[in-house]
Structures are given as structure tokens and as C-alpha cells.
Amino acid sequence: MAGKKILMKAEKISKYYRMGEVEVRALEDASFEIYDGEFVVILGPSGSGKSTLLNIIGGMDVPSGGNVFFRNDEITLYDDNKLTMYRRNRVGFVFQFYNLMANLTARENVELASEICEDPLEVDMVMGEVNLDDRMDHFPSQMSGGEQQRVAIARAVAKNPDILLCDEPTGALDFKTGLSILSLLDKVNKKHGKTVMIITHNAAIADMADRVIKMRSGRIISDKYNEQPIPPERIVW
């Protein structure tokens, strides 16, 4: 991709688990590059290894083989402390089930993440961006699923990370709410220039991506650019 800097690069990464006598190959020889400001969708059925891939590039898991680079640094050589700093300052996570702290309000959940970062964004501004100005002092149990996911996105964005890694962000939401979350992620990508990577089994979401990486049985089976990404509002599933 001419003119764009490589943000992340994976070289032949693999991940094996041992479950009793059986060796499970969750990921095998996966290689790809992610560029600054891209909106990437990793598409695959469940068990295809996409979550494993996301966890490895997010520094939440270590591969059994291969190398992962963030800009020019090889994160697969990082010790536990460096990996933590990488997660703290470079990566923002959005989970399928939001995973908010139940005893903190929406705003406090966002601050929980922002207050340990090197260069966080203004929390009020971020809360405004996700349209939660009037719900800031609510606890997760007082919010709908969509609202909770917005808080989760705000939590990830407020850290001002280089990349947003979203694991099935609409998986627990209804269609309409799901679309609003996709619009928000699109806005984060387009307006704030953040690289966004979504992993999903929902093929419809791939239509809004700049690039779609397809996976099956732990392998990347295709890695294609989407010449004409459509706005999230036009997605139907």
C-alpha cells in the first residue's frame, strides 16, 4: 500500500495449545501487514483462529512461533513488563461482552484506562464523541448493551492508542445497536485517524472495511483490499 506506513507486521505466526493428549493448532503460519489508519476486518467462522490472532497482535498472548512487529519493534521479544506497556500505550481493546467494571460509572470506567496512559485524550471529549454525555454517571447495570459497548469504545479510544482491536463488537447487540457501534468505530477511524481492526464472523461487516483478511482453520485464506467500502449505515445482515 504505497505511501502508508506499516503499523504492524506478522510473520508466519502460529499458536499451538495442548489439550490433554491432543495438540490444537489454533493458528498456523499467518503473515500480514497492517497500515496506519486502515480499517481492517478479519473474517472467519468460530474456531478459525481470529481471536487468537487478535490476542497475539494485541500483546495479550504470545505466539508459539513467528514474529510480530509494531512499527520497527519486535513485540514477540518483549518481556511481560514491556508487553504491558505496549498494551497500555499502543493498543485499545473492545470486547464482545464489554467487560466493564461493574462498580465504576461510565466515566470512571474510561478514566480507569486513561489515567495510566502516557498521552490520554480528554475524557469529557471522548464521552461526547460516543454520545454518552448524559450517561456519564451511570453504572453499567443502569445502561443498555449498546451504551455499555459505547463506554467500552470510549475506554479504548481515551487511551489514544495507535490501534483499536475489536473482538466481535456487535456480537451481543441487536442489528440497530450493532450498526450504531459500527458507525462509531468508523468515526474513530475516519475522524481521528485511528487504525481499527475488527474480528467478526459476520460477513456483512466486511463491506465497510478497507481490507478484509479471511481465515479458516487457523490459516489466512485471503487478504484483499476492498476497493469500495460502504458506509456502515448501508450494511444489512
Binding site: 487468537t52 498472548d61 466493564l100 453499567p140
Partner: protein, 783 residues
């Protein structure tokens, strides 16, 4: 506040009941440590200061008679710093109630400066008129309501004297006042000390320019052992009866024993409480970490380090410890004041010593911090193993097989569904089962202590004054008399049985150990002493041996068959080596028993006795009132009554232990139940949907707790027995041995108290089930 800390704060506030319960356990442990340590330090320093200020003796000597030149000989001994002779005798005191026998020790006090055992004037002033002024020891004055200006009437040699009370005084020699070793409890209204001028005492007792006691201060008090031997030789000609070193001085020894015991308590109690608190905290935090698995994963994904998260949970434990120890240190410090006052009033130290020591307060904080943070880190250690990616996935269901009870199909088929839930859970949550059972066992064992100790004291005193000593009255003479005196008493009082006896102090040596004890001479076929061995078999007094009491065997490490040396201080009488024929089962007192004829021949004079024992329903006290040479008439009933008074006081002390047991039991059961309810929200919600009422679910939890309580109590029985044995060994002093078996009633009492605490904890935790929103619990995925 950092949001991470805010999360912690809200966590604590949500489970404040649990938090408070554990903090209380810490607080009680630290409170006991601080209060006892500070109060004991005040007592120790106070006594030391009193001894220094008032020049307390290093040694004292009781002898037949010593004149001024004898005193001068002692003064010239190289190790001696100062020496002082005194005249000391016990005599009866005339009191209003003719039935009451009251004795006083009349002690001479010199005019000279730098007096040894100097007096502390509390009221009034010093002796003005040496012929009729008297200073009265405060304990006695207080007990009998004697004031400055009153007139007292001691009887000396059959003659009644009229003395004016010029002052009420304290003495370093009588911080704790007891007439002799045979009286284990002080009776300040029955025995006191009068201080008179040397001139008066010497004249009244016929000791012109001489004394019957010597007080000595050494240049180096640590040399008292060597000096004692030197002194013995030096004073051979003066008929030395007893040389008492500081460590053998009754009042000082009792204070030292109290200090030693209290220090031991100050160390043991906090260890028990902090140990229990640490166990609860470790389990609480480990369950919390298990429940927070996903949250911990999220925190790690956000960028929190392992040590941040570890410290987050350790902080939880630390705050419990900090709040507990703050309360403990504060209340402990407040309590130490009244406790020190009680000590200083019970042990008469005339001035208040309050020492503030940061050391104990700091140690209180440090102890709780070490225990709580240690427990917190231990409980939270699994955080290190949580991988953020892994923690996002739901935990695979546990592999669960049939529980033991399910395998007994015959029983399993016949129990109801709710009982099945109960039994299955009891056997499945093994860690909880072990924790709760051990906790209940500790509660039970602690609750057993007050009940048993009371039984032990009762058994000890009733054995001593009912089983062991069987006379109705004991009459003691002011001086040894001939056996003829038995006949005289028989004529005066209508008796069913009467025997003369000798009771005389001798120093018994076994190797390097030695002790001055009361040796009692009795008729071999005595009816008044039940000389039985620990197996209950009767031991007979042989014509050439001796029997010894259990406390004496313990202190001097003597066994049956050993040969001991009996040191004889009486002029022209040699030391005698005597074989110990057996050990008498006797809980109280250091005593040796000999055939009266053998004792008279070998140690004293033929035909001499020091008192009589009688069986009589006659008005003995009244009839003995004016009898010459009688120093005291004690009925066994009097001694039992003193004990009853003592047990009333003991009840208050022991009830504190019952409360301690309650705090431990409550904290363990309450926390464990709250944790269990929290973790089983899904299970209880499912039961609610199946149609179980909140009451029924509460009943399930109660049944589980009661089953575990049952196991805990069973486990607590051997634990309690072990603890009581340990306690009996550590309480074994030279004054008494405790060997009473644990009574059935003590077990019942302890079990009842334990169940009560369990029910109380159950009551307080039941609100958690009442408030359980089962629909929310079933759909909830937020962490």
C-alpha cells in the same frame, strides 16, 4: 482518587459486613496485645521504680536471734551494701467481732536513713511517739476501714496493747499481701502489717538490742546465690531458719509470675486472632480473585501490570489490617490505662506509672500489616497466572463426579431434593468445608476454655479443701507447744476427732534445685489428710521417708525414690537426707509430708507440735477466742468461701474468652457464608426459578453450615483437649497444678456457644439471600 482505588473502595463498601467482621478479629488481637503489653509494662516499671525508690531488699534472713554485733558482721561482708535488723512477729489483733480471728505481722522499722524496705506514706505521717504509734499497711487499713487517728489493739504475748494509728503506708515488700504460702488468695481483712518503732518491738517481744530478721542489700544483686551460701556459714550460730532471695520473696514472686503470664498472653492472643484473620483474608481474597478473573484479564489488557493488580488486592487486605489495627491500637491504648490502674491497685504500687511506648503501638501495626498483607498476597497469588486472553474465555465447567454420600445409594435414594443439594455442596466445596470446620473447631476450643478453667478452679479448690484436707478446723499456734496441748483443746471443745501436727518451713534440695517448703508432720494413720497418689491409691507415711505434693515434684523435678536433702537451720540440728516415698495428688501448694515422730526426732524436737486439726460441730472459734498461744482458727468452710468470692471475679475474666470465641466464630461463619452465597448466585437463582422460596434457600445454607458446625465441633474436641493440656502445662506454677479432666458440661457449654455464634452469623448473612435478584444474576455478564 485513582479509579483503581475507587474500585477497591466500592468493593469494600459493598462487602462491608465481611470487611467489618474480619477487621474486628484483627482489632481484638491487636487490642489484647497493646492493652496487655502496655499495662504489664506499667506494672513492671512501676514495681521496679517502687523497689528502687524504697530500697527493696535483695535478701532477707529469718533467724532465732541476732544482736547488733551479728548485724555488724554481716555489714562487713564484702558483697554487702547495707544491712538492717528487724523484729517481726505475727500476733492476733483484737477486733469487734469476737468470732473473727485477725492476725497482724508486727514489724519494727528503724529511725535511720536509707532504710531497706522503706515505707511509702500514703496518709498521715511518721511515728512520733515510739512507744504507742503505729503505721498500718494500706491493704489491711482499707479492708478494715482503719484511718489515721484510730486506735488498734494487737495482742502481744497475751497482753493487749493500745496503739495510735499515725499513718497508712505502702511497702515494696508487700505489693501483694499474703500471710504465707499456704494461703493462695489474699485476705486483706484477715491479715495485715503494723510497723512500730524498733524500741517498741524489741521491748514487747523481748528482743532487747536484737532482732529475729535481717534485711540485706547487695552491691551486686545478681550475686545473691553465692552470697546466700556465704551467709549461711556466717550466721550458723544465730539459728538461721530461712534465707529468702529476691526470686523467692512471695510478693515479688507473685508479681513476677503475673508479669510472665500476662506477657505470654500478650503474645499468644494476637497470634490466634491474627492467624484466624489471615486465614479468612487469604480465602476471601482468593475467592475474590477467582470471581474477578475476567476483570483481572481486562485490567491486564488495558495495561495494568501484574504488580499493580496484585497490590490492588493486597491493599484490600492491608486496609482490613490497618483499620483493625487502628481500632485495636486505639482501644488497646485506652484500655491499657484502666488495666494498668487495676494492676497497680491489685498489686499495691502507690504511684501511677504510665509509660507510652511507640514500640508496642508500632509493633501492633506491623504485626497486623505482616499478617494481613501476607495473607492478601497469598490469596491473590493466582493473579500472576491469569493470562488476559485466556481470562476472556469462560472457564470450562469443572469435572464433577459423584460425592461420597451419593455413592451410598441406599441413603441417597431416601433423602429429599433439598437435603441432596445440602449434602452435595458440603462434600463438593472441600476447601470451604475444611476452612469452616477448622474455624468452628477453633471457636469450640476457645469456648471450651472458660468453661473448663472454671471447672478446673472448682475442682482444684474443692479437691484441696474437701477431698484432700478433711478436717473441719485447723488451729495454728503462735509458737511450738508440747503434744499436751492437744488434750487441753479436747477439754475445751467438743470434738469428734483431733490430731496434732507440725508445720514448719525447711529448704529442700534436689541437685541444684532448691525450695523452701512447708513440711507437715502427721500421724501415719491420719484421718485429716487424704494422702493418695495420682492413681488414687493410698500412700502411707513411712517411718523414715517423706511424701511430696505434685507442685513440689514439678518444681524440684523430684520423682518417687529420689533422695533429697532437707536443710535444717535450727541450731544443733544437722541437714538430713530423706527418701521420697511417693508423690501426693494435691493441686495446691508446695508441701512435704512426714511421719510426725520421724519429723520431731530428725528435724525438730521430740513431742513438739505447731497446731492441731479437729473435726467438730461445736462453736470452735468462739471457744478458742481467749486461748493463749493460738494464732489462728480456720475452718475449711472459710477457705471455700474465699474461693467462692474468687470465682465470681474469675467469671468476669473468663467471659472475655467466651466473647473472643464468638468474634472468631462469627467472623469465620459470616465471611464464609457471604462468600458462598456470592459464588452460588446462579445456583440459587436457578432454585428460585424452580420454585424455591427465599426461606427454603436460607434453610439450605443453614443446614450446610450446621452440618459443617457438627464436623467442626467433632474436630474441636481433640483440638480443645490439646489446648487445655497446653494451658494446664503453662499454668502449672509453683503454687498449683491443674490436672482436672474436661467435664461433659464444659463440652456441652462450648458446643452450645458455638452453635449460637453460627446462628448469629447465619442471621446476619441471610439478608444477602433476601436481596438476591435472581433474574439479574442469571442474565448478568458484566464483571
Amino acid at each position: 482518587m485513582k479509579k483503581f482505588n475507587l474500585r477497591l473502595y466500592r468493593h469494600i463498601m459493598k462487602a462491608k459486613g465481611q470487611f467489618v467482621a474480619v477487621s474486628m478479629v484483627v482489632a481484638v488481637g491487636i487490642m489484647s496485645y497493646v492493652a496487655i503489653s502496655l499495662a504489664v509494662m506499667d506494672l513492671e516499671v512501676g514495681a521496679q521504680k517502687y523497689y528502687e525508690l524504697n530500697n527493696f531488699q535483695d535478701l532477707s534472713v529469718e533467724l532465732m536471734k541476732i544482736n547488733e554485733s551479728g548485724i555488724e558482721r554481716i555489714r562487713r561482708m564484702p558483697r554487702v551494701e547495707s544491712v538492717q535488723g528487724r523484729v517481726f512477729f505475727k500476733t492476733p489483733l483484737e477486733v469487734e467481732d469476737k468470732d473473727e480471728k485477725v492476725n497482724v505481722g508486727i514489724s519494727s522499722i528503724p529511725e535511720a536513713e536509707n532504710r531497706i524496705n522503706d515505707l511509702y506514706i500514703l496518709k498521715g505521717g511518721w511515728i512520733q511517739d515510739g512507744r504507742r504509734d503505729v503505721l498500718v499497711l494500706e491493704q489491711f487499713a482499707e479492708a478494715r476501714g482503719i484511718e489515721v487517728g484510730d486506735v488498734v489493739h494487737p495482742q502481744i504475748g497475751g497482753k493487749e496493747y493500745e496503739l495510735d494509728v499515725k499513718g497508712i503506708v505502702g511497702s515494696p515488700e508487700h505489693i501483694y499481701l499474703m500471710e504465707d504460702e499456704q494461703n493462695l488468695l489474699p485476705q486483706p481483712s484477715k491479715y495485715g502489717i503494723f510497723y512500730v518503732s524498733e524500741e517498741f518491738a524489741q521491748q514487747a517481744f523481748g528482743y532487747s538490742k536484737s532482732y529475729n530478721e535481717v534485711l540485706i542489700k547487695l552491691k551486686n544483686p545478681e550475686e545473691d546465690g553465692i552470697f546466700k551460701d556465704e551467709l549461711e556459714k556466717e550466721l550458723e550460730r544465730y539459728g538461721v531458719q530461712r534465707i529468702i532471695r529476691r526470686e523467692d520473696h512471695m510478693s515479688d514472686r507473685i508479681v513476677a509470675e503475673e508479669i510472665r503470664g500476662a506477657k505470654q498472653m500478650a503474645n499468644v492472643i494476637p497470634m490466634v486472632f491474627l492467624g484466624v484473620a489471615a486465614a479468612i483474608i487469604a480465602i476471601m481474597i482468593s475467592r475474590m480473585v477467582k470471581n474477578d478473573r475476567t476483570s483481572i484479564g481486562v485490567l491486564k489488557a488495558i495495561g495494568y501490570r501484574n504488580r499493580d493488580i496484585l497490590m490492588h488486592y493486597a491493599k484490600h487486605a492491608f486496609i482490613i489490617g490497618a483499620i483493625g489495627s487502628l481500632i485495636g491500637v486505639f482501644v488497646g491504648y485506652l484500655l491499657s490505662g484502666p488495666m494498668a490502674n487495676l494492676y497497680q491497685e491489685f498489686y499495691r504500687i502507690p504511684f501511677k506509672v504510665r509509660i507510652f511506648s511507640w514500640n508496642y503501638l508500632g509493633m501492633g501495626f506491623l504485626l497486623s500489616a505482616i499478617y494481613c498483607i501476607g495473607a492478601g498476597l497469598w490469596g491473590a497469588r493466582s493473579i500472576l497466572g491469569i493470562m488476559p486472553a485466556e481470562s476472556m474465555r469462560p472457564e470450562p465447567p469443572k469435572k464433577i463426579g459423584k460425592t461420597y454420600i451419593q455413592k451410598i445409594t441406599f441413603i441417597w435414594k431416601h433423602i429429599s431434593f433439598s437435603w441432596k443439594v445440602v449434602w452435595r455442596n458440603v462434600f463438593r466445596s472441600r476447601k470451604r468445608f475444611v476452612f469452616l470446620s477448622v474455624g468452628i473447631a477453633v471457636t469450640f476450643a476457645t469456648a471450651l476454655m472458660p468453661a473448663h478453667m472454671l471447672n478446673v478452679f472448682e475442682a482444684m479448690f474443692y479437691d484441696q479443701y474437701g477431698e484432700f484436707m478433711r478436717m473441719d478446723y485447723e488451729i495454728a499456734y503462735t509458737k511450738p507447744l508440747s503434744e499436751q496441748s492437744v488434750m487441753e483443746i479436747r477439754e475445751l471443745v467438743d470434738v469428734k476427732g483431733i490430731e496434732g501436727k507440725i508445720e514448719f518451713p525447711f529448704e529442700i534440695e534436689n541437685g541444684w534445685k532448691s525450695k523452701v517448703v512447708s513440711v507437715i508432720g502427721l500421724k501415719p494413720d491420719t484421718e485429716f489428710y487424704n494422702l493418695a497418689g495420682s492413681d488414687g491409691g493410698i500412700l502411707s507415711l513411712s517411718p523414715d521417708g517423706m511424701l511430696i505434693s505434685e507442685p513440689m515434684a514439678y518444681i524440684l523435678d523430684i520423682e518417687k525414690g529420689d533422695i533429697v536433702n532437707v536443710k535444717n537451720f535450727i541450731p544443733f540440728k544437722d541437714d538430713v537426707r530423706i527418701k521420697v516415698d511417693g508423690v501426693v495428688k494435691q493441686s495446691l501448694g508446695l508441701n512435704a509430708y512426714m511421719d510426725i515422730d520421724f519429723m520431731q526426732g530428725k528435724l525438730l524436737d521430740e513431742g513438739m507440735i505447731t497446731g492441731v486439726m479437729i473435726d467438730s460441730t461445736d462453736r470452735v472459734k468462739e471457744k478458742m477466742e481467749d486461748v493463749k498461744n493460738v494464732s489462728s482458727v480456720n475452718s475449711l468452710e472459710d477457705l471455700k468461701n474465699i474461693f467462692k468470692e474468687f470465682t465470681k471475679l474469675t467469671y468476669a475474666g473468663l467471659s472475655v474468652y467466651a466473647l473472643f470465641a464468638g468474634i472468631i466464630g462469627f467472623a469465620i461463619v459470616y465471611n464464609s457464608t457471604m462468600m458462598s452465597i456470592n459464588e452460588r448466585r446462579l445456583e440459587f437463582s436457578s432454585l428460585r426459578i424452580m420454585g424455591f422460596s427465599k426461606k427454603e434457600i436460607n434453610r439450605i445454607v443453614l443446614k450446610e453450615n450446621l452440618i459443617m458446625t457438627g464436623f467442626g465441633i467433632l474436630l474441636g474436641i481433640p483440638l480443645g483437649r490439646w489446648l487445655m493440656e497446653l494451658l494446664q502445662t503453662s499454668f502449672q506454677t509453683e503454687f498449683y497444678t491443674m490436672t482436672a479432666p474436661i467435664e461433659k458440661n464444659s463440652y456441652i457449654y462450648a458446643a452450645g456457644l458455638t452453635v449460637f455464634y453460627v446462628l448469629l452469623a447465619q442471621y446476619f448473612s441471610s439478608h444477602k439471600i433476601k436481596r438476591l435478584d435472581f433474574i439479574e444474576a442469571l442474565k448478568n455478564r458484566i464483571t
